[in-house]
């Protein structure tokens, strides 16, 4: 239960290969965020940086407001589910799930002995002495007028150097001046923040406060291992949630893939973690089991109630699971948004093609403007842009230009005969999916188009006719279109968020 904040996170391998460029993301408490993208896009690397399994080359990762860059994985209080389950083969299912609990130490209150009380009193006295000295010191440093004077002097010097620098042409002298400027900057920082003494005073005060509280309550906090009873309780509870109670005594190798994945999830959820990380947890399962486990993860999420980061290359998983989706490509974030946003308003061509199956059809054509109306002309047909899309284009003052037009396969309709707004195509392949056909068609100039059409609207005769070589006319509504700039591949419908430089 915590927020996760990634700012300017970067991963560079062996000085050359950049796996993640300038990754910025704020994940809210209890949010389910999915990183999705093709393999090699840096999604797993980012996740592993959050977990602490990879060094962070640049930038900061904060969990619960605390910078964790230099913390070991064990000190970050995260859990992780791995693609290959990573169960300990030598331990039973029970011991596997209990493994993190056995390593964990809990804060327990223990009454103080008399000896300890005396000791604490002595250290409080010592701290008080220190605090007095430090306060005195800071007061001296805080002779405000003097500081102001110093700052003014340094500023003046700085201005002079900057002036000199602008006038100077000789590179050697320039470098010297730059060095001087840097030194001045440092001196200035020192004058602004008389940090050290203040920081030490703060730690000393905090420590005294903690010790005083300990004395007052007569108890001290101690970190102890969890008792076996507690472990047993927690493990059985987790096993019950996941339906693996019957297998607790087995070794992982005696389990099926789905059961192993459940154990892995159990091991991750049993300790109270701040963030639960999942690295393609369903990739090793067969299709049927994957659908089932996906539904279970959705249910589980309600029960566990923590922050999730989920990595997958499967857009269906991303769409169904995520509160928010982060689409990535080549180490860059392409779009962040809810599944609906990402599906309806892809910010660029990559996201448009990646999200949705089969992928969006795209073709080059021209966007023209006649009065207030917008038209597109794919393959000679003339189709008017209508509804919200047209309003958005007008609002954004989009001019007539060459564009890449995108239409999802399910938004293309089949019409019976030629019309000005219809495209003539020839059927190549008809994939029967049960409730729908996936038609692979070729336009007259050889551009492939995929159409998803529900079978329920077609008569048996029509279905039988849909074979290789059949002539088919296609059209699509003015609502269903997506427009991308032909040069930049950015969407013309949404404002582009500021992209980081490569």
């Amino acid at each position: 239960m915590a927020t996760v904040e990634l700012t300017h996170v970067k991963k560079v391998y062996t000085g050359k290969v950049i796996a993640v460029h300038d990754f910025n993301l704020f994940i809210k408490d209890k949010e389910f965020v999915v990183f999705v993208g093709p393999s090699g896009c840096g999604k797993s690397t980012t996740l592993r940086m959050v977990a602490g399994l990879e060094d962070i080359s640049d930038g900061t990762v904060k969990i619960d407001g605390q910078v964790v860059n230099d913390l070991q994985p064990k000190d970050r209080f995260v859990s992780m589910v791995f693609q290959n389950y990573a169960l300990y083969p030598h331990l039973t299912v029970f011991d596997n799930i209990a493994f993190p609990l056995r390593l964990m130490k809990q804060a327990v209150k223990v009454p103080l002995t008399d000896k300890e009380k005396v000791k604490i009193k002595a250290s409080v006295a010592k701290l008080e002495k220190n605090i007095a000295i430090l306060t005195n010191k800071i007061e001296l440093q805080h002779v405000v007028a003097k500081r102001q004077e110093a700052l003014a002097y340094l500023d003046e010097q700085k201005r002079a150097v900057v002036k000199q620098l602008a006038a100077e042409n000789d590179p050697k002298a320039k470098a010297k001046l730059e060095k001087k400027l840097e030194d001045l900057e440092y001196d200035r920082l020192k004058a602004v923040y008389p940090i050290d003494a203040e920081r030490r005073l703060k730690t000393a005060t905090d420590e005294r406060k903690a010790l005083a509280a300990e004395l007052a309550s007569g108890e001290k906090a101690e970190r102890r291992k969890m008792s076996n009873d507690q472990i047993f309780e927690k493990v059985t509870a987790a096993a019950k949630t996941l339906g693996i109670t019957d297998y607790l005594a087995r070794k992982p190798r005696a389990l099926s893939g789905g059961q192993r994945q459940r154990v892995a999830i159990g091991r991750a959820m049993v300790k109270d973690c701040k963030v639960l990380l999942m690295d393609e947890p369903l990739s090793n399962l067969d299709a049927k089991l994957r659908n089932q486990m996906r539904a279970e993860i959705i249910l589980l999420r309600k029960k566990i109630d923590t922050t999730f980061i989920y990595v997958t290359h499967d857009q269906t998983e991303a769409m169904t699971l995520g509160d928010r989706i982060v689409v990535m490509k080549d180490g860059l974030i392409m779009q962040v948004g809810t599944p609906q946003q990402v599906f309806d308003y892809p910010e660029n061509l990559f996201v448009a093609e990646f999200i949705g199956a089969p992928k969006m059809n795209t073709f080059k054509c021209a966007l023209t403007k006649e009065g207030a109306k917008y038209f597109v002309n794919p393959f000679g047909a003339k189709i008017e842009v209508t509804g919200e899309k047209s309003l958005t284009l007008a609002k954004r003052k989009v001019e007539a230009q060459e564009i890449i037009l995108g239409v999802r396969p399910e938004h293309i309709e089949i019409v019976q005969e030629a019309a000005p707004n219809a495209i003539h195509t020839t059927l190549q392949v008809n994939e029967m999916m049960g409730s729908e056909f996936h038609l692979h068609l070729l336009t007259d100039d050889g551009t492939p188009i995929i159409v998803r059409t529900p079978t329920i609207q077609l008569s048996d005769k029509q279905k039988a006719e849909l074979v290789y070589g059949k002539s088919v006319y296609l059209t699509f509504g003015g609502q269903a279109m997506h427009f991308f700039d032909a040069k930049t591949a950015f969407s013309l419908l949404v404002d582009q968020p500021e992209k980081p430089k490569k």
Binding site: K74, F82, P89, F99, K271
Partner: protein, 307 residues
């Protein structure tokens, strides 16, 4: 169709007329039986050659009619006198204790070092790692005997020779044992890295990963490592002899036993006792191997999967 005719038919139908000689049909079972018999005869002969010295020593150790070397093998009078004398009249118990201390200490220290070294080289990535591995491989190619003279001087200066040879020998055996990382590193490399990662996320330190996850999964290699570490000092003669330098308190069993028969009079007086000593020394190692040979073989072959 009987087999002889069949052979002829096969030959005739072929385009290129190779005339196969009519073959005597020998059944699969008979063939196997003949083959096995030959192999077993060979194996039995080899066993006799190998076991003969051992049997001789065991038989000699029970001979009580005389103590010198004789021209026959089967004793005329049997008894345990040699064993009793070995433990009561000589320094043998002391030597056995010396050897046991040295071997146990070496086994523990060397195993810990080798396993930690292997884990480090298998899992951690640090600057100079590959250089270190190659460097140690090359260093390992020089025979250890090269260092004997200088090591003796060093040990002598530290007062770790002669009667104080136990710490000296442990030091020598344990030093540089990290270089024996090769086989166990190969074994560790076959354990998926994601297990380490899972354990680290679960809250384990690197050391806990090694002791709670990796080592339990590497039982064969751990046993192999301990066994080899134990056996080296147990049977060592050259270095132990050099460090003990004829001091009867500082000898290990091998050196001690040899010192009983290194003079002509010694041979005559102690030969059967010497054989009894040999048997006593062999017993622990034999027992260890009997119980652990399964792991030992797994260790050797398992480590070879990925070198």
């Amino acid at each position: 169709m009987n087999p002889e005719k069949e052979a002829v038919v096969v030959a005739e139908t072929q385009a290129d007329p190779i005339v196969l000689p009519p073959r005597r049909h020998v059944g699969m079972r008979t063939k196997n039986r003949i083959g096995n018999t030959l192999i077993y005869i060979l194996l039995i002969l080899m066993s006799i050659v190998w076991l003969f010295p051992f049997v001789c020593i065991i038989l000699q150790s029970f001979r009580i009619e005389s103590t010198m070397m004789t021209g026959y093998i089967i004793p005329k009078e049997w008894g345990f006198d040699n064993y009793v004398n070995l433990f009561t009249t000589t320094n043998f118990p002391r030597w056995l204790l010396n050897t046991l201390i040295i071997s146990l200490a070496t086994a523990v220290l060397q195993s810990v070092m080798i396993l930690c070294m292997s884990y480090t080289l298998s899992r951690l990535r640090f600057n100079g790692r590959t250089f270190l591995m190659r460097f140690m491989l090359v260093l390992g190619m020089f025979p250890g005997m090269l260092t004997m003279i200088i090591l003796y001087r060093v040990l002598a200066d530290m007062n770790m020779t002669q009667q104080n040879s136990i710490p000296g020998l442990i030091l020598v055996y344990v030093a540089s044992s990290g270089m024996g990382y090769y086989i166990s590193k190969g074994f560790f490399d076959t354990i998926p890295k994601s297990l380490d990662e899972a354990a680290r996320v679960d809250g384990a330190t690197r050391a806990q990963v090694l002791f709670k996850v990796i080592l339990p999964l590497s039982k064969p290699i751990v046993i192999y490592t301990i066994l080899t570490a134990f056996m080296g000092p147990w049977g060592d003669f050259v270095f132990a002899a050099y460090v003990a330098f004829n001091n009867r308190e500082g000898m290990n069993v091998a050196v001690g036993l040899q010192s009983m028969i290194n003079t002509p009079s010694g041979i005559n007086a102690n030969y059967t006792m010497f054989c009894a000593g040999g048997v006593v020394v062999a017993i622990p190692i034999t027992l260890l191997f009997l119980f652990l040979q399964k792991y030992y073989v797994e260790g050797v072959t398992g480590g070879a999967v990925k070198g």
